[in-house]
């Protein structure tokens, strides 16, 4: 219900942003078109009608997936963005996996041995991970690993491989090498976040009775840590990561620009710079839909993972 309201409000804002703040004829019609074409386009977009009717027209077009054609590419804007979406998604997924694979073990270690030198270093580095501007870290990574050391490629997506009907950089060595730096750059903030969450959860859990009892039963340390402890600290980490996935997609705008990754974030920045307005409008509408959907999924997943939260309670 709330999601529907958000989508509706956003569509109104985007519509007014385009049609009232700016001149819709400038915004949606190619400036290089001649007078006759402009008039045809005005009628096609319903711009000669009153504003209320215009909004309905815009909604109808948007629902039908017709958000105008790109000035630069001459393709429907929505299609253009959907073509770039897999690249962004695979980058965000790779970053998410990195955050889990690096963040949880480091956080676990820092939580179990908070006084050790390694744990202290990890924590200081994670503070840095919060403060460092992502884009600058990206630039420095390019400088060190691509320019000075020459180990990793700095731009593009590399060779694509196809596996089980999916085409992605994940399935070739070249693609993986291309992905390493952008994904790490995007993941940096999330790694710090996961380290802190896991460490806090671990420090709280080791003091609790069920862990003491597990030790008292004579279980091996590895079993206590990886079965009893991990299970209990994972729930908050997973929820936060779910919510942060949307954040990753938003921040991929920055990472994609630095590493020339051909995803939808880079498309947005290119479109803003080239004033390719139909693509901008389509991107904004699409990203709002993605976000609303993500929030809904996280809400539902949360109620499945944690039996204390049920959909029934939330309605009350």
């Amino acid at each position: 219900m709330q999601s529907a309201v958000v989508v509706f409000v956003m569509s109104v804002i985007v519509f007014f942003g385009v049609n009232v703040v700016g001149d819709p004829i400038d915004m949606l019609i190619n400036p290089e078109a001649d007078q006759e074409d402009i008039e045809i386009a005005i009628r096609a977009l319903g711009l000669d009608k009153p504003i209320g009717e215009q909004y309905l027209f815009f909604l109808k077009n948007a629902l039908a997936g017709n958000l105008g054609r790109s000035f630069i590419f001459g393709e429907p804007a929505l299609q253009l963005i959907l073509q770039r979406m897999p690249a962004t998604m695979e980058l965000a997924f790779a970053a998410l996996i990195m955050a889990v694979v690096l963040g949880i073990p480091l956080g676990l270690y820092a939580g179990l041995k908070p006084e050790s030198l390694f744990a202290r270093t990890t924590m200081s580095v994670s503070i840095l991970g919060f403060s460092l501007p992502t884009f600058w870290v990206g630039l420095m990574m390019i400088m060190v690993f691509a320019v000075i050391l020459g180990w990793l490629p700095s731009t593009g997506r590399g060779e694509l491989g196809t596996f089980m009907g999916m085409t992605s950089s994940l399935f070739t060595l070249d693609g993986l090498l291309h992905m390493l730096m952008p994904a790490l750059n995007l993941a940096l903030l999330k790694i710090s976040l996961v380290i802190r969450l896991t460490r806090a959860g671990t420090r709280e859990a080791v003091l609790q009775d069920y862990i003491k009892f597990a030790y008292a039963k004579g279980l091996k340390q590895s079993r206590v840590i990886f079965v009893h402890l991990l299970k209990n600290i994972l729930i908050p980490v997973i929820t936060v990561l779910g919510l942060e996935f949307g954040n990753l997609i938003a921040f991929s705008v920055v990472t994609e620009t630095i590493f020339a990754w051909p995803g939808m974030g880079k498309l947005l920045i290119d479109s803003i710079q080239q004033l390719d307005r139909p693509v901008i409008v389509a991107y904004l509408i699409l990203i709002v839909l993605i976000f609303v959907a993500l929030n809904l999924i996280v809400d539902i997943a949360y109620s499945i993972l944690d039996p204390r939260v049920r959909l029934g309670d939330r309605k009350a």
Binding site: Q2, V6, V14, G17, V18, V21, G22, L128, F130, S131, L132, P133, T134, F135, W136, L139, M140, I142, M143, A146, V147, I148, S154, G246, N247, A250, F251, V253, V254, T257, I258, L268, I269, I272, Q273, I280, L284, I287, F291, N295
Partner: protein, 309 residues
């Protein structure tokens, strides 16, 4: 005990007994307990002073085209300029002295961050206070808007606004304020809710003071501690966000380069090994953000009544 809440008593005593600790003195000694925070505060003050007095310190005015020579572009750090001074940190693609450009950029970054922070703080706290004080449907409605806005990442909202409005100092300020006000509103509302049920507000109500006076004269000053903490952290965020947006080319115009834009300008030269054009502005940005964050962390510890001994 909250530091700000009990200001009234020692102020009366202080003149008669000079050895009594004033709240400010206690606050100062609490703050200085952490050496890291003290260093961070000193650095931050230094950075602010540098930004204010940039025209006096910088060897060159990077906006004055008469002083910039394109022939001197991309000089490495330490090279000597035609006018006789030394390019301490090298020069950028347009021949500007990078050290001067960083000082001026710092000025823009700091002022945009601080000003948007102050405006957002004013708007956010009025809305948050109104929500807490009125309660009922108004409160539910305002907080729903805050929740919805906070469920979107800041950078996305800022990008949306800038995509629709275009570039410019005023536009980026609008974007930064829009992004930040919700944090302040939420903070003020939660502490105002606690304050509202306290006895002094009841007393003020009994005295038939006006709503305005109770809100701004009684409740708001007691919500200041969390606001200051959120304010410092948000200012650091705003500076980082502005730098990111400028880097993406949707923030400030080229004529007034902030730190983010300087880094962005250096990007194209980096692949040919001219690291300094991006590296040094980044370091300046990093030091600024880290020192604000450290000061904010320490403020949170000192101003949090729950952590007080």
């Amino acid at each position: 005990m909250s530091v700000i809440g009990d200001k009234a008593q020692p102020l009366n005593k202080a003149p008669s007994a000079p050895d009594v600790e004033t709240p400010f003195m206690r606050f100062r000694s609490d703050f200085m307990e952490s050496r890291v925070a003290a260093v961070a505060l000193a650095l931050l003050i230094l950075i602010i002073l540098i930004a204010i007095f940039a025209p006096l310190i910088a060897p060159q005015n990077p906006y004055d085209l008469a002083q910039v020579d394109i022939l001197e572009s991309r000089q490495p750090p330490g090279a000597k300029s035609f006018q006789g001074y030394i390019f301490l940190l090298g020069s950028d693609g347009a021949g500007r002295d990078l050290f001067s450009a960083i000082l001026y950029g710092l000025r823009i970054s700091l002022s945009v961050g601080a000003m948007s922070g102050v405006i957002a703080l004013a708007i956010g706290s009025v809305i948050g206070l109104a929500a807490a004080y009125s309660g009922g449907r108004t409160e539910a409605f305002i907080m729903r808007i805050v929740d919805i806005q906070l469920s979107f990442p800041a950078i996305l909202i800022a990008l949306m606004l800038l995509a629709v409005f275009g570039k410019g100092v005023d536009k980026i300020m609008i974007a930064l304020v829009t992004v930040q006000w919700a944090y302040y509103a939420r903070t003020v509302r939660s502490s105002a809710l606690v304050e509202r049920s306290k006895e002094y507000v009841e007393a003020a109500n009994c005295l038939c003071l006006s709503h305005k006076r109770i809100l701004f004269g009684h409740i708001l000053p007691n919500c200041l501690a969390p606001l200051i903490v959120v304010g410092t952290v948000q200012t650091a965020h705003a500076i980082a966000l502005e730098a990111t947006l400028s880097f993406l080319g949707v923030g400030l115009p080229q004529t007034e380069p902030s730190l983010g834009l300087l880094i962005s300008n250096g990007f194209e030269y980096m692949l040919s090994g001219r690291y300094w054009i991006s590296f040094f502005p980044g370091i300046a940005l990093l030091i600024t953000i880290v020192s604000i964050n450290l000061v904010g962390d320490q403020l949170r510890d000192v101003l949090n009544p729950r952590l007080q001994k």
